[in-house]
């Protein structure tokens, strides 16, 4: 099977004033399709930077990053936007829904940037909302939904373009444990259905849902283990 994501010697250096901060200090990583990965590490370890680079929000200072064989490290802004749009689905800790749009409009948004015709867009958005069990709330705005429901809308938005990978940055961090569990069950289902999922989490029990756990420390992958 072809690799989905290949990072080789990836570094990321920030310049703050005259100081150079090595957020990533040489990361090698290979991820295959339909893997279920959790990423752990203390804050400041560089896991956010790694996720940003994998998510094509940021580019490495040095090293190579290939996504489905395409060299992401050579891409310009527009190409990165296109990869984010078509290949990657983001789920954030704070949901990051647009507060003034209905659930349906939020889910529809990535398809607008993908230039999908309107009829098709609505159909796909509704399908994604049905997938996360929120079809009956599709005309509600985020502030009319519970935290768990909001995160489901966000997951629907991540799913709607049929991405190659779903990146979830502490998806249960702002939820009560019951809703958090529901969300994790949803991720498990999505994995069952063939999706590739990369989670960032602080919680050991959340990390256990994944098959493989990466421990990041000081800008490097300290440990790369397969879970029981």
């Amino acid at each position: 099977m072809n690799d989905l994501i290949t990072l080789k010697g990836v570094t990321r250096v920030y310049e703050v004033g005259t100081e150079k901060i090595h957020a990533l200090a040489g990361v090698d990583l290979t991820i295959r399709p339909n893997e279920y990965i959790s990423t752990m590490g203390p804050s400041g370890s560089g896991k956010s930077t790694l996720m940003n680079i994998i998510g094509c929000l940021d580019t490495p200072t040095s090293g190579t990053y290939e996504f489905e064989g395409e060299p992401v490290h050579k891409m310009d802004d527009n190409q990165l936007a296109s990869i984010r749009n078509r290949k990657i689905g983001f789920v954030f800790q704070t949901f990051n829904l647009l507060p003034k749009l209905t659930a349906l409009r939020n889910v529809e948004l990535p398809l607008i940037y993908a230039n999908v015709p309107r009829d098709e867009r609505l159909e796909q958005a509704e399908r994604a909302l049905r997938r996360v069990g929120l079809i009956d709330r599709m005309n509600h705005k985020p502030n009319e939904l519970s935290g768990g429901q909001r995160q489901r809308v966000a997951i629907a938005r991540a799913l709607v373009t049929n991405p190659s990978v779903i990146l979830a940055d502490e998806p249960t961090g702002n939820l009560d444990s019951k809703s958090g569990e529901d969300i994790m069950r949803l991720f498990d289902d999505l994995h069952e259905a063939g999706n590739t999922i990369i989670l960032v989490t602080h919680e050991e029990y959340i990390a256990k849902h994944a098959q493989r756990t990466l421990h990041i420390l000081d800008g490097k992958i300290n440990e790369d283990t397969l879970n029981g």
Binding site: N52, G55, L57, D77, S82, R84, N85, N115, R157
Partner: protein, 419 residues
């Protein structure tokens, strides 16, 4: 541009429009205030242009105060605009009845040479009924009614004999008839003008109003009688000359000017010491006047629109900094710089265009109110409407581009983290 790219652009603009509408709806008060600025700017230019256009369209017919092929000779210009003060004309010698008679005797080309003068504020009465103060006393001759562009409705006109013998006869305008003879036939009745009796021999046809002013508010008596009884030291007559045809108009004019210069002994090389007023000249003078007003309105509007544009820029900058997070989210899920740029630009253009349309509607309505006041058919100055809307787009783009650019170049990670 390839077909798919074009359809992509169309899609983007369509979606941006929808987003712009949503954004405007979400910030109603702020949006309304912003577009009010644009609306006022556009309103002022469209309003003035509409008003001027309505006046202009009526000028062709309306300013033909005299009949066709006629011109007027008088001491003062019909309209003076700026610069020249009345002093320049005041020292001219008056145009006298003798000069008129001499001109009439010597001029060969004109088919009519007629003389008039008028004065207001006379007490004009029939028994206990008095004409209003705006009915003025008109001295004239057999040609005067023709120069008023009207005819005898009943009775007879003033004749050359009436003038020659300074008879105390009068032809009434319809306003005078309405006011003094509401229930009686005026013909043969005697009215008094400052206590002097005059026999009504004729009634002129009604002309109606122009520019909101009656054209029937006169009492016409022979010029000779007028000069004897009501003439003043400073009375200067107006002479109306009618050329036989449009072709002979210029020749007639030249002949009359030549003769009058001789009569008034104007040395060769000196300019005329009288004014020749023609319809063409009136229209031209009016054009100068409206041109000035247009320029002024334009200047005011440009300033107003500039201020409004700065308002739009300000609002858009606020809007961008309020929506940094939103921009980050949009970028994360795949919006390109161009998508964001177009989104904010569309919003700016939409705001100013919305304001522009409001301004156009108010302006056309306001301008036509002026037209209605003057009893002139309404018009829509389409060229100015289009210019106004085009300018609004330019303002939207011009003042929207910087905020939109700032939004577009935001870094997705920083803006996502922004709270």
């Amino acid at each position: 541009m390839s077909k798919s790219k074009r359809s992509h652009l169309k899609n983007t603009v369509k979606e941006s429009l929808r987003m712009a509408l949503e954004a405007i709806r979400d910030n109603k008060l702020r949006s309304v205030l912003t577009l009010l600025g644009i609306a006022i700017g556009v309103f002022s230019v469209i309003g003035v242009m509409t008003a001027i256009r309505t006046l202009e369209t009526s000028i062709e017919s309306g300013l033909n105060v005299f009949g066709t092929n006629t011109f007027l000779i008088q001491k003062y210009p019909a309209v003076t605009i700026g610069g020249h003060s009345r002093r320049k004309y005041r020292n001219r010698r008056n145009i006298t009845y003798d000069q008129f008679k001499e001109l009439k005797r010597r001029a060969r080309l004109p088919i009519m040479v007629s003389v008039t003068d008028y004065s207001g504020g006379q007490t004009i009465k029939y028994r206990d009924k008095q004409a209003k103060k705006n009915v003025y006393l008109q001295g004239g001759d057999e040609g005067s009614l023709r120069t008023f562009n009207t005819f005898i409705g009943d009775g007879r006109n003033i004749t050359a004999h009436d003038v020659e013998f300074s008879r105390r006869v009068t032809v009434l305008g319809m306003d005078a008839v309405d006011q003094m003879f509401p229930f009686e036939d005026p013909l043969g009745k005697i009215i008094t003008i400052n206590g002097i009796g005059f026999t009504v021999v004729g009634i002129a046809e009604r002309k109606g109003k122009m520019f909101g002013q009656s054209q029937d508010n006169y009492v016409l008596i022979p010029i000779t009688t007028y000069l004897q009884r009501y003439g003043k030291r400073w009375t200067s007559l107006a002479i109306t000359v009618e050329a036989p045809s449009a072709e002979l108009y210029d020749k007639t004019r030249d002949e009359v000017i030549g003769i009058l210069r001789m009569i008034r002994k104007v040395p060769p090389g000196k300019e005329n010491d009288f004014e020749v007023v023609s319809n063409a000249q009136l229209i031209e003078t009016f054009g100068q006047f409206t041109g000035g007003v247009k320029l002024f309105a334009l200047a005011i509007s440009i300033i107003a629109l500039l201020v409004a544009g700065i308002g739009i820029m300000n609002i858009m900058l606020v809007s961008v900094s309020e929506r940094i997070k939103e921009i980050g989210i949009r970028k994360a899920i795949g919006a390109t710089r161009r998508d964001i740029l177009i989104q904010f630009l569309t919003e700016a253009v939409f705001l100013s265009e919305f304001g522009g349309i409001t301004g156009v509607i108010l302006g056309v309505l306001g301008g036509n109110l002026v037209a209605m006041a003057f009893n002139i058919p309404a018009v829509i100055p389409l060229d100015w409407v289009l210019i106004g809307l085009a300018v609004c787009s330019v303002i939207g783009v011009g003042f929207g581009i910087y905020p939109a650019y700032r939004a577009a170049k935001l870094d997705p990670i920083t803006s996502l983290r922004y709270e």
